[in-house]
Amino acid sequence: MESSAIPASDSASGNRPGVEDKGLKKNAIGFVSSVVIGVASTAPGYSLAATLGFVAAAVALQSPAILIISFIPMFLVAGGYYYLNKADPDCGTSFSWVTKAMGPQLGWIAGWTIVVADIIVMANLAQIAGLYSYELFGLTSLAESTVAVTALGVVWIALMTSIVVIGIELSARTQVGLLAAEIVTLALFAIVALVKVYSGSAPSASIDPSLSWFNPFSLSPAEISAGMLLAVFIYWGWDTTATINEETENSTEAPGRATVVSTVILLGIYLIVAVAAQSYAGVDDLIANQEDVLSSLGTEVFGEPLDKILIIAVLTSAAASTQTTILPTARTTLSMARSQAMPKSLGKVHPRFLTPHISTILMGVLSIVWYVGLTIASEDILFDSLAALGLMIAFYIGLTGFACTIYYRRELFNSVKTFFFVGVGPSFGGAILFYLLVKNAIELSDPANSESGNSWLGMGPPLVIAIFFLILGFLLMFVQWRKFPAFFGRKPEVVPAGFLEGKAPAPGPTGAGPEELP
């Protein structure tokens, strides 16, 4: 009668042998959901609205070519995520992969960088969500009031945080609804704009689309790096897809395929909307409306009252992304807490909702504190911190690319395929991202290039902000290190030779988190 943890039967959740077996996880995420979450976390609607004008200013008609080139490093590292996930599907974050391949210190910093980047971007997303909520209902005076926008932005963060805590079905429904609204409106926009261009009812500045827009070889190296600095980060978010792992028998392929499909969908959305916007309005108009390309174009393309459609696209994009930003970050901190790399309470789950509620709520609260605090203290710093985001994203995604090559170093020369896709590809992608990181850092070191134009310690504020968070990360790491030295004493691991051919077992017992190691 004292028996515990006997599986009730072979159920939909798989024939679990019992809770002692920590390795098997069935009934995980489906293919479609993976794709949805990957696309949604990237926030294509908002990314386009905020980026397209700047890219046009840098490379004129070649924006589609830049979008394709920028896709390459992210795509190569995405391949690395796929292979890392294959060897270590239990801990789906850069934190754990970098820890395993390159040691706990770098791994900790990678996890920390994800958390910081997500908190910073939340402020931006909340602001957009607040602003566009008012614009949707034509409340112009409220949209212009910082207090009103910030208040509504906080409401959005709180709302999305509670949805993630309550979790389960509600998150799913919210995400599907928001993403569908976003994609449908973007598609409508592209179709109507292109129809108007070809039927001649577009404004005189319109240009028929040309294949030459896609040609990357017409760009100078300077244009390429300037354009990539802007465009590479609009693909940020796909890594959420790769963190999702499925442990049904035949599913080592499914998460990888979902990653590829969602990045390709993103590329498709970006190219179609960029071509439509550019051919409808011409480059000058895009540059003139840099801050938000889509709202102004929406009015031109659809006219009243349908112009609200693109506001919906950007609003749902920002709202959905708020949710998909809290979600993986809380998972990263959960993972870190259970490896004793962060305080233990972050690894707890809610008894009723079964979600990592403490991690999630902490993320929401920190985001609100950061957002409101900086809005009060200095909006310049808020914008400057967004400029620092690129450095952080390039750092942790690039680092993960290198981690793939290092983790698989005994497997690289098995075949031409593994050499390129596991070895060269991810590291090359990582190298491009690190190049952009350095390039960006040099640019940001000049105070004149920041939003505020301020000079801190002779450098631009974004660079100082990035360095500040790096130092803070090291300090917190040492605090945790002194308290829980076990995690930080872990040795780097390597994927045994023969793993990819199925000749060697996966490194370590499946499900062995760092906490199970001596």
């Binding site: 009668m1 004292e2 028996s3 515990s4 943890a5 006997i6 009730a8 039967s9 159920s11 959740s13 798989g14 679990r16 809770v19 920590k22 390795g23 996880k25 009934n27 995980a28 995420i29 489906g30 959901s33 993976s34 949805v36 979450i37 599907p89 239990d90 801990c91 789906g92 974050t93 993630v164 309550i166 979790g167 389960i168 079905e169 509600l170 998150s171 799913a172 995400q175 959420t240 963190t243 999702i244 792992n245 979600l327 993986p328 998972r331 959960l334 993972s335 259970r338 490896s339 690894g347 707890k348 789950v349 008894p351 009723r352 909702f353 079964l354 979600t355 990592p356 499900g511 988190g513």
Partner: protein, 139 residues
């Protein structure tokens, strides 16, 4: 000997349900099976194994609490962790044990909140082919 299946999650309303189930078991001479459904809230969360381990640990803790609560009254219980959502887990175990009834606690959530969050007692009442006893948390 009859069987009573009770849903327990360590919360106040779970305590109320377990208490009442132990009362009834004493009066009827039944055995008590305590069930904790721990289907991870995966789907869209992209839950990782660590998340699931955390949930399983929580389940063990909850079950230990249930055992000590029952032991305090001199009753031995059968504790079951089931990797399903609460309502499905209860129905399944009740079916296997051919239980007399299922006992669950009610949070006393307002109806609308129950609709949005999906309340377990509500689901049970509609899905179960066996009698369901819903115990208010305040009782």
């Amino acid at each position: 000997m009859g069987q009573i299946v009770v849903g327990y999650d360590g919360s106040a309303c779970g305590d109320a349900a377990l208490d009442r189930a132990l009362d009834l078991a004493g009066e009827l001479g039944d055995q008590v099976t305590v069930v904790f459904g721990y289907a991870p809230p995966g789907l869209w969360g992209g839950e990782i194994a660590e998340h699931e381990e955390a949930i399983e640990e929580l389940g063990e803790m909850v079950m230990a609490k249930a055992r000590s609560q029952a032991a305090g009254r001199g009753i031995e219980i059968d504790a079951q962790l089931v990797a399903k959502r609460a309502a499905e887990a209860l129905i399944e175990v009740a079916g296997q044990r051919d239980a007399r009834m299922i006992v669950v606690g009610s949070f006393g959530d307002p109806p609308l909140k129950g609709i949005i969050l999906g309340s377990t007692p509500n689901k049970l009442l509609h899905m179960s082919e066996r009698p369901v006893l819903v115990v208010p948390a305040s009782s």
